[in-house]
Amino acid sequence: MLEIKNLTVEVGNRRVLKDISLTVPSGSTSVLFGPNGSGKSSLLNTIMGLSNYRVLEGQIIFDGEDITHMPVHERAKLGIGLMSQRPPNLVGVQLRDMLRVTSRGKRDPGKLAETLNMKRFLDRDVNVGFSGGEIKRSELLQLAAQNPCFYMLDEPESGVDLESIERVGTMIRDLLTGGVTCAGRRATEGKSALVITHTGQILDYIEADRGYVLCDGMMACSGNPRELLREIRNNGYEECVDCRLVKQK
């Protein structure tokens, strides 16, 4: 589904990603770990094509197509969807309108919001005065309207209170699996995803197939996501920085 080859990216004059390679197979979910400022969000934003992120080297291949220099909206049309961590306020643009245009009129914003228990947000301006948890739910609602085949979720659990985590986690699981619980069927029918997590809490709700550790803009490690998380919890990221298993390979 997604293949990143030797990606080097600059923001301003700063290199934020250095020679990154990773693959997210169709129907699978990969998780990105890494300390603050390691380049996780930069990677997602680069895949989305945001203009601050300038690709110096490497390629982004999506569904066999080179999208490295494709405009943002065309990537979205191919089926890439991004849940931002800090989306901008859209003053004067109501969530209802956003959902209507995002779904190209195919989904009824009212019904969509009802299933996600978010009807009272429909007439509010997108993100304006939203709490941390409300932003997450609004982002997920927009993704539900957009219905991408590849989800990029930037720290879906950050800023969400304990009570809301259950709701956000369940929403994500439903979006990714469409209710399918069988691993075999998930691989063929489910959505693909690349998920950034700091705490690993989201792994209580979704099946993750592979984990990657980013440190200082470089890929430090990859492997079983739960094992990686356990290691990070026990020893911190310093271990990964020193080890640089990927580099040694």
Partner: protein, 401 residues
């Protein structure tokens, strides 16, 4: 008064470019009146639509149409209000002279003087005491021929405890490229009354517009002013002033303006708060796609416990336009709460890309942000009117800037 007006015929206005009135001839005064809106010529009805005036009169409590300097149509549906040509009203009500030319001075500038001396037509609307006029009353001020100087004098009186909504479309008929419109408006909102006044302008490339408006708001009364100008025009200069003389009186001004290439808009709103506990809010949203737009706002605090806020936001699309914000606060006593916010800039790239990441093109994303930006300026407008304005905004192809 006549002498004062004559002496002011050459007096330049304090703001806005000076318009040479000798280039224009007085608007025709002898266009016959028809018995219903349906009988108006097609080109007139088409022009009305462009300024959100409903040619069928449907959904409107009453209608009055002025073409050049003639009143050409009038319909009145109930006896909760009076609606007629201001000249007829002056003949009918002797007391009306105490209201005419009291909030706008005839010798304020050459435009007020010309209108005073022209014995101008105009609309007179009066909501009778305690009456709540349900649907809006619409008026249309049309310029129908080239090089016309249209002069109108309007008076609205909302009597005690009454409420009224007025929608005015000011528009030029197709083919009229150069003209000047001078409109004097004097509005009185008496104790406990409420007036919502919405004005939509849709002129042509070489038309000059000089409205002069004064509003008097009494105890516990409120005045809401909505002004929308999105289409091409040569020059507009206006600075309506609400005098909040009553206790707990309220005024709100909402302005939505787009300066198209070649346009020079000098738009202001002023509230003078001299009633104890009075409140005022001025909200303006302006956008230039190549023209020049000046947004003035002035709040004058003269009484205790008043509260006033001014919010002025401007966007610049493309690299040719000029957007100027001039907010003013003036307090004459310490016990006031007065604030303002002003900001100018271009559309934020992160907002555009955020919407693009949902699958919309850049033009669609910019259009959506601009519509949202302007819509904040008209949030208080009645729903059906908002739909009209939404349509106008959508048609304005603002994304191309």
């Amino acid at each position: 008064m006549r002498k004062r007006a004559e002496a002011a015929l050459e007096k330049k206005a304090a703001l806005g470019e000076d318009i040479d009135l000798s280039k224009f001839r007085e608007g025709a005064r002898d266009i016959p009146e028809v018995s219903s809106l349906e009988e108006l010529p097609e080109r007139t009805r088409e022009a009305m639509l462009r300024a959100s005036v409903v040619p069928s009169g449907e959904g409107r409590e009453g209608s009055l149409v002025i073409l050049d300097n003639s009143m050409v149509a009038r319909s009145v549906a109930s006896d909760a209000y009076e609606l007629m040509d201001v000249r007829a009203a002056m003949q009918k009500h002797d007391w009306l002279k105490d209201y005419a030319w009291k909030l706008v001075q005839p010798d304020a500038d050459k435009y007020t003087a010309s209108t005073y001396l022209a014995d101008a037509p105009g609309y007179f609307i009066r909501a009778l005491p305690g009456q709540h006029v349900k649907m809006p009353i619409q008026t249309c001020l049309l310029v129908g021929s080239q090089n016309t100087a249209q002069t109108v004098h309007n008076i609205i009186i909302v009597e005690e405890g009454a409420s009224l909504e007025v929608v005015t479309g000011c528009v030029s008929e197709g083919g009229v490229e150069e003209a000047i419109h001078m409109g004097i408006s004097e509005f009185y909102v008496k104790k406990g009354g409420k007036l919502t006044f919405t004005m939509i302008h849709n002129w042509a490339e070489q038309i000059g517009v000089r409205p002069r408006t004064g509003v008097l708001v009494e105890d516990n009364a409120s005045y809401i002013n909505n002004y929308v100008i999105l289409k091409k025009v040569r020059t507009v200069q206006t600075y309506p002033t609400a005098h909040l003389v009553g206790r707990n009186s309220v005024a709100q001004f909402n302005t939505v303006a787009v300066a198209q290439p070649g346009a020079d808009l000098d738009l202001g709103s002023r509230a003078v708060l001299s009633g104890v506990g009075s409140r005022a809010e001025i909200i303006s949203r302006s956008l230039t796609t190549g023209g020049r737009v000046v947004n003035r706002g002035s709040l004058v605090g003269k009484a205790a416990d008043i509260k006033a806020h001014l919010e002025c936001r401007g966007l610049i699309l493309g690299d040719k336009g000029v957007n100027i914000a001039i907010p003013e606060l003036e307090a004459h006593i310490p016990d006031v709460e007065m604030t303002h916010e002003a900001s100018l800039g271009k559309i934020a790239k992160d907002q555009v890309e955020y919407i693009m990441s949902r699958g919309l093109t850049e033009d669609e994303a910019v259009g959506m942000i601009v519509r949202g930006f302007l819509e904040v300026g008209i949030r208080n407008i009645p729903e059906e009117l908002k739909a009209e304005i939404d349509k106008t905004i959508a048609q304005a192809e603002l994304a191309k800037g």
